[in-house]
């Protein structure tokens, strides 16, 4: 049974923890709104871009002269996994979920005899993966100093990837990030970006009412120009989704922590009051029995 003083100290310490988690929750809420705005603002570009790329890819796609970024190298032996996580912890299962998905994929690929390479974006993912797969690392992108993710960050990563692809260091590149559904739900997602894939390619062409576009210069030249930019666009979109997800996850994690702290304080306060009462009762009994003995 802890003494009264111990209880008091514990209650005080939990109270200050609650203050911290509460503050973190509010900061995350504000940051979440900004991250969501950024993601919202970036959407029109990504949507139009992918629609046009999809159309182009659909019309050029099959031919042998299609750019390598679209066709692939014809192999899938060397797989590069780009794992994007947060720079900070204290955001619930956010980082772990992404890493878990990546680990699953690594195990799968290894089982089928492929070579796996890992590039991480964000400190937390690197820490978690380094323990098991240190030998597979080919790089790490540090965004600790970046306050607001800009397109430039995505371009740098894309440039790195494209360079590696040119040098034939890998055949297939997949990015791992967390898709922001809403504040309480973030879905870890894997997306193949090299060779490029377009889910809605055919829908896109139809949605435009079958308008036949002229291309200037020709389709293949445009495609060759746009595909590298497409990689950057996809990475940028993933980074923004990730940023929003991170703040959402942190917000709900801190909300939980604040609530738990409140419950704990209530429980401890009751215990504190009880033991105080017991001490008083004890003292009374001693006084009374002392008086009786006289």
């Amino acid at each position: 049974m802890p003494s009264l003083k111990d209880l008091k100290i514990r209650i005080e310490s939990i109270k200050s923890t609650r203050k911290i988690t509460k503050a973190m929750q509010m900061v995350a809420a504000a940051k979440l709104r900004r991250a969501q705005d950024a993601a919202e603002n970036a959407r029109p570009y990504a949507e139009r871009f992918n629609a046009v790329l999809g159309q182009l890819a659909a019309s050029v796609g099959g031919s042998d002269s299609a750019p390598k970024l679209l066709r692939g190298t014809g192999k899938d032996d060397v797989q590069l996994l780009v794992v994007m996580t947060a720079e900070r912890g204290l955001c619930g299962g956010f980082n772990t979920n992404i890493v878990k998905l990546a680990k699953q994929k690594i195990a799968e690929l290894k089982a089928s005899g492929k070579t796996v390479k890992i590039l991480t974006v964000g400190k937390k993912g690197r820490e978690q993966l380094k323990r098991e797969y240190a030998d597979l690392f080919v790089g790490h992108v540090d965004l600790t100093e970046v306050k607001r993710i800009g397109y430039g960050n995505a371009q740098d990563i894309a440039k790195d990837l494209l360079g590696k692809f040119e040098d034939e260091e890998f055949d297939v590149c997949t990015i791992f990030y967390s898709e922001f559904v809403n504040v309480v739900s973030q879905v870890p997602t894997a997306q193949q970006i090299i060779p490029a894939t377009f889910e809605a390619a055919e829908d896109g062409a139809e949605a435009d009412g079958g308008v036949q576009y002229d291309y200037e210069p020709d389709e293949e030249t445009i495609l060759a120009d746009l595909l590298p930019r497409g990689v950057a666009t996809q990475i940028f979109a993933a980074l923004l989704e990730n940023a929003a997800s991170e703040q959402g996850a942190r917000m709900s994690a801190m909300d939980n922590a604040t609530r738990n702290a409140g419950e704990m304080i209530d429980k401890l306060t009751i215990e504190y009051n009880r033991s105080r009462q017991a001490v008083i009762t004890n003292e009374l009994i001693e006084i009374i029995s002392g008086a009786e003995a006289l």
């Binding site: 046009v52 182009l56 002229d214 200037e216 030249t221």
Partner: protein
């Protein structure tokens, strides 16, 4: 046929402009072109240059680089990696852009070097158009 078309200029980070316009002059990779209402559907890549929009509320100029324009009978959508209103363009920003193009040029080889050289030349030409000095960061 309506004599205006919808115009939107979108960068990866945000939408820069949208509204209606009478005509839009686009610095296409194969040469400048002007889009007006009823233009045949066309997709063209861009070279670094000036995008000139004549709207109902006056004219606007944007410095754009890297991207493409999608023209249809009803409107023009310009997607660019970087764009700035001409008024916001400063010597410093311009120097940065030219410097980047220059570095890309030096790093490139083969076919890529030719296109990088063209990109750099276009970039320098833009400076001449808008009255900025490109000599500081010149070849």
């Amino acid at each position: 046929m309506a004599d205006t078309l919808t115009f939107s200029l979108v960068s990866p980070e945000r939408s820069l402009a949208s509204g209606s316009a009478k005509e839009v002059q686009i610095p296409g990779a194969d040469g400048d072109l002007t889009a007006m209402a009823g233009h045949a559907p066309l997709i063209t890549t861009l070279r670094p240059g000036l995008l000139h929009v004549s709207g109902p509320d006056g004219d606007d100029d944007y410095v754009v680089t890297g991207g493409f324009a999608e023209i249809s009978a009803e409107g023009v959508t310009v997607l660019v990696e970087r764009a700035l209103h001409q008024k916001e363009m400063t010597q410093d920003i311009f120097n940065d852009w030219v410097k980047e193009a220059k570095e890309a040029h030096q790093a490139a080889s083969g076919d890529a070097a030719d296109s990088a050289a063209k990109l750099l030349a276009d970039m320098v030409a833009v400076g001449g158009h808008i009255g900025l000095d490109s000599s500081q960061a010149n070849l």
